[in-house]
């Protein structure tokens, strides 16, 4: 199963990131041909850039994997209202740490990508919404923007053209839900980040201040620069059809070399990632489970067999190690590649405790706006916490599953799914461990306070 040749990284986004001679200052960026694509962009018509992005097939790197070119096409350009561009730098999905690298190590790449995108959609104002915890990242970006402004790469009359677009950094206040684009927009407007109902509040039509707005992930916006450099047509040949470009995978958990690795989409399998790239598991451990795309994606069991039909009609029959790392691979086995956060769990992990950890996160981060997610996420947390404290009951596995099912598909935003999918998949894949807890624990209903 394990290949002898370790697959080679192909770094496009993180090309310079870990070069010890490379700095996040504009001088260094310019020396490495920086902002040449912005100059190129200004020789093109805005819609031509959109066409290139469309041709490139680049999909959103924030989690949902929606084609970026398509998103831009939905933009309401007839309303006459100003258009806004927002970079979603609220990277908070447990297991994901890719955007942080870009912003810390190569901020000008993001700024260049953003200004190209802003010009392409004719944005009046651009924002980087960065999570509160990235205070260093925010500082670096602010310095970088000041440098870029000085060189006229953003601000008024960019590169002597008639196009002006300011770029500002807006820091969040510490809420995961601000990564949801309409929640982010509410937060940017200075309100509680309660996600908006869709319809009618699709950002491309009624976004920031009820104006047409595009919200893209950091990595996605960086890709815009490379689409221009490589050309949409050529870019679409990187990776696999419908899974174009590279992806930065963030591997965490019990492997020898956790970290971020940039590969062409589909260039390697999950097994190759774990055993070749990340050096395998810790000594004496065996693989138990993998969460392939951040904590909200459904967990995969190490001894599962996955079979079915791919989108192109070919049959597949995979073990966990055969799953190709791209957008469609994890999706075709019932999970998702999400934001690229691969979490590896070995045989020392207690699945109920892992579940309790994830549930605690979602209970803490639910905005509390809509009923199922607000009450369900805390309830699931309370159940799993109680189970870990020795008070598990026989019916708890079924109850957890039922609560999760009552959340999924009934909430305003996708947080409901994010909170429900882990529970649904943990129970489906590791029900025995949940039942085990009841057998070994007190197995008494904690009725002391109803």
């Amino acid at each position: 199963m394990i290949k002898k040749n370790t697959p080679k990284e192909r770094r496009i986004i993180l090309k310079h990131a870990d070069d010890p001679k490379y700095s996040n200052k504009i001088g260094c960026y310019l020396k490495n041909d920086g902002y040449s694509m912005l100059k190129k962009a200004f020789k093109m018509k805005p819609e031509e850039i959109g066409e290139e992005v469309m041709k490139s097939g680049v999909r959103g790197r924030g989690g949902a994997g929606f084609p970026a070119g398509m998103k831009w096409k939905f933009l309401d350009r007839k309303s006459g209202k100003p258009i806004y561009l927002i970079c979603n730098a609220d990277e908070s999905e447990p297991g994901t740490f890719k955007d942080r690298q870009i912003m810390h190590k190569d901020p000008h790449q993001l700024i260049e990508g953003m200004m190209i995108a802003a010009y392409a959609i004719q944005a009046k104002q651009a924002f980087i919404y960065i999570r509160a915890e990235f205070f260093k990242g925010a500082h670096i970006l602010e310095e970088a923007i000041a440098e870029a402004k000085e060189k006229n790469f953003c601000g008024d009359n960019i590169l002597g053209s008639s196009y002006s677009c300011d770029l500002v950094v807006h820091r969040g206040a510490g809420a995961y839900i601000c990564g949801e684009e309409t929640g982010l927009i509410e937060s940017l407007e200075g309100k509680r980040p309660n996600p908006r109902i869709k319809p009618p509040y699709f950002p491309a039509v009624l976004g920031l201040y009820q104006c047409p707005t595009i919200v893209n992930n950091v990595e996605t916006l960086c890709n815009v620069k490379h689409v221009l450099e490589i050309g949409g047509e050529e870019f679409s040949k990187i990776g696999k059809p419908n899974n174009t470009g590279t992806r930065i995978w963030c591997v965490s958990g019990q492997v020898k070399k956790p970290g971020y690795y940039e590969f062409e989409c589909g260039a390697l399998t999950l097994g190759e990632m774990i055993y070749d790239v990340c050096g395998g598991l810790l000594p004496g451990r065996t693989l138990k489970a993998v969460i392939p795309g951040g904590s909200s994606s459904k967990i995969l069991r190490a001894d599962e067999r996955f079979s079915g039909k791919l989108k192109d009609g070919t049959d597949f029959d995979w073990g966990i190690e055969d799953i190709p790392l791209d957008f469609d691979g994890p999706a075709s086995v019932g999970s998702m590649s999400g934001s690229g956060g691969i979490i590896i769990m070995d045989d020392t992990v207690d699945m109920v405790e892992a579940m309790a950890n994830i549930n605690a996160f979602y209970a803490h981060e639910s905005c509390g706006q809509c009923t199922p997610c607000r009450e369900g996420s805390l309830w699931m947390k309370k159940i799993t916490k109680r189970m870990c404290e020795g008070d598990a009951r026989d019916e708890d596995a079924d109850l957890l599953l039922s609560v999760a099912n009552q959340i999924e598909g009934r909430t305003i935003c996708a947080f409901g799914e994010a909170a429900a999918w882990p529970t649904q998949s943990f129970i489906a894949k590791f029900r025995n461990e949940f039942e085990e807890k009841a057998k070994n624990g007190n197995n008494k209903p904690s009725l002391q306070l109803i």
Partner: protein, 566 residues
């Protein structure tokens, strides 16, 4: 897809039945028109859509079309296929479209409703026996109608503040709050007083006032009505009365010319609260806090309950006959009231005609709040115009009367409720003038009157008012008046009958309206009291468009437009 040739109506399929509904309304309203309840908490027809309670989840499908060609996709029978959305959608935030299919009772919908009910109750205290909302609580009702009937929750419930004073009139129990945000939206959108918000997040979200702010606006008690559960309570009403003991009578608020539609809740003849009654042409679903306090006048200490003749208590019949003696063949002036009903003003006009009396009217004015408290602080100024009691727009002074009195033009004064000593008449003016006072509450004028005849408050009688938009609205007696007293109409008709030759004036509303509606030039032409709908009747007030009405632009009222529209 329009039906009946009416382009504003569309046909949808509701639970398997084709029904016609107005285009552009949401699923909750569309279903409600056809008698189907879609349960909801956060949705309110007069507030923006929040979509957060998720109680109104329904199944929805639309006729399928080919994405490329736009052509209808048909099944084997040639019927257009329905593309059902795999997830339930919210009925409040989804507008109907032609051919839309809706299921409100499928297993998916029932499952959603059971789930939402369970979630709403897991952290909700089960203390209905001591909760003020019991009996009118949506949570209770929907738990019975749509819940599972048992709880699977064995964890500790969240603890939140139990009795927060949000303002002078509203007390909040946060543990009962289901975070529907109706109160927040009301304060933002209707009152423009953004003081409420949530703090903390997730299940620990807590409703509160922003630091340094309080919920003290004159509409704060509407949040209590809006609250679907027992979280927001009226400090005045809480723990005083079980709502199922209360009798609700439709009434009209007499605070100002806005004419809010109300419900007066009483038990055994005693009023316990006043709440707004929905009327989309007048007050939507709101009323002022100050208007809710008016019932306290019914039992107030300065209420007149005993007739007096020459400062001596007397029987009502004796006081009326003494009054007619006093009014007979005298130079008489009548000071009417914009607080009297249309019918009373009509009789008073007739009395003035029969006795050749001069008519005077004063108004009561205050600040206009631009919503439902208008600067005209009387409920029926336009009634006085419409019945012909006054042709002039009144001021708050009776200067004409003062001048006439000082010239000795009048020997007797009949005053309806007003305190003329507060309106530019001095004690000296009244030297040698006999005063008959009809009213509900004591004032300086009643103190010096020769005859005082107690009358009834709007809560104790039946009648009609015309509000600032010339909307004619009737109200019914909610509680009986003090023992031994008669409605104003009976007193006025007695006076008319004893003072005129023909003397057959009836005190019956139907009879009075027959007379009122007789004249073809009257705005009451062809109307009758019983034909006034529960939500009132728009009259044509064009005749008075030259007058300078004092009301400012407000909810459903615009000073320049209103007369043209009417």
């Amino acid at each position: 897809m329009s039906s009946n040739g009416n382009s504003s109506m569309i046909t949808i399929n509701l639970d398997g039945k084709e029904v016609d509904v107005p285009a552009g309304i949401n699923i909750i309203e569309a279903a409600s028109i056809h008698g189907t309840e879609v349960p909801h908490y956060c949705y309110h027809p007069q507030l923006s859509v929040a979509g957060n309670c998720r109680m109104c989840l329904v199944e929805m499908g639309t006729p399928m079309r080919d994405r490329g060609t736009g052509e209808a996709i048909l099944d084997q029978d040639g019927v257009q296929k329905i593309g059902w959305i795999p997830k339930p959608i919210i009925g409040c935030g989804t507008n109907v479209s032609p051919g839309m299919h809706i299921k409100t009772n499928s297993s998916m919908v029932k499952g959603s409703q059971e789930g939402i009910m369970e979630f709403l109750l897991v952290n909700h205290p089960l203390d209905c026996p001591i909760c003020d909302q019991a009996g009118e609580c949506r949570l209770q009702e929907f738990a019975t109608d749509y819940g599972r009937g048992y709880s699977r929750y064995v964890e500790r419930k969240n603890v939140k503040p139990k009795r927060t004073k949000l303002g002078p009139r509203v007390t909040l129990d946060d543990e009962r709050c289901i975070l529907c945000s109706r109160c927040i939206r009301f304060c933002q959108e209707v009152v423009d007083d953004d003081v409420l918000g949530f703090v903390d997040r997730g299940s620990f979200s807590t409703l509160t006032c922003f630091p340094g702010k309080e919920l003290s606006n004159n509409y704060s008690l509407n949040t209590v009505d809006l609250c679907p559960v027992g979280a927001l309570t009226s400090t005045d009403f809480r723990f005083k009365m079980r709502v199922w003991f209360l009798k609700e009578s439709p009434s009209i608020c007499t605070e100002s010319s806005a004419g809010c539609n109300t419900l007066v809740s009483s038990r055994e003849g005693e009023i316990h609260r006043i709440t707004p009654r929905r009327n989309d042409a007048v007050n939507d679903s709101w009323m002022t806090d100050s208007g809710r306090e008016l019932y306290k006048q019914v039992k107030s200490e300065d209420r007149i309950v005993t007739p007096h003749v020459s400062s001596e208590p007397s029987k009502l019949a004796d006081a009326i006959s003494s009054a007619s003696e006093l009014l007979k063949d005298q130079k008489l002036a009548i000071v009417g009231s914009c607080r009297s009903t249309v019918e009373e003003q009509y009789l008073l006009t007739k009395l003035a005609r029969n006795t050749k009396a001069k008519k005077f009217l004063r108004g009561h004015f205050g600040e206009d709040d631009g919503i439902l408290l208008s600067s005209d602080r009387t409920p029926n100024l336009r009634g006085a115009l419409a019945t012909g009691f006054s042709v002039k727009y009144p001021t708050d002074q009776l200067s004409d009367l003062s001048r006439a009195l000082s010239k000795g033009q009048f020997e007797t004064l009949l005053v309806i409720g007003e305190d003329i000593l507060e309106s530019g008449i001095s004690q000296d003016d009244l030297k040698g003038v006999k005063v008959v006072f009809l009213g509900t509450h004591k004032n300086q004028t009643s103190a010096l009157a020769d005859i005082v005849i107690p009358t009834l408050t709007a809560f104790e009688k039946t009648g009609s008012f015309i509000n600032r938009t010339f909307h004619l609205q009737s109200f019914k007696q909610a509680v009986p008046g003090p023992a031994g007293l008669l409605p104003d109409l009976n007193i006025l008709s007695s006076l008319i009958n004893s003072l005129s030759v023909d003397g057959d004036q009836s005190a019956d509303l139907a009879q009075i309206w027959k007379q009122l509606s007789k004249s073809a030039t009257s705005i009451f032409h062809k109307l009758s009291f019983s034909s006034i709908p529960s939500d009132g009747l728009q009259l044509n007030g064009e005749k008075w468009s030259e007058l300078d009405f004092v009301e400012k632009k407000a909810l459903h009222f615009s000073p320049t437009k209103q007369l043209q529209e009417a």
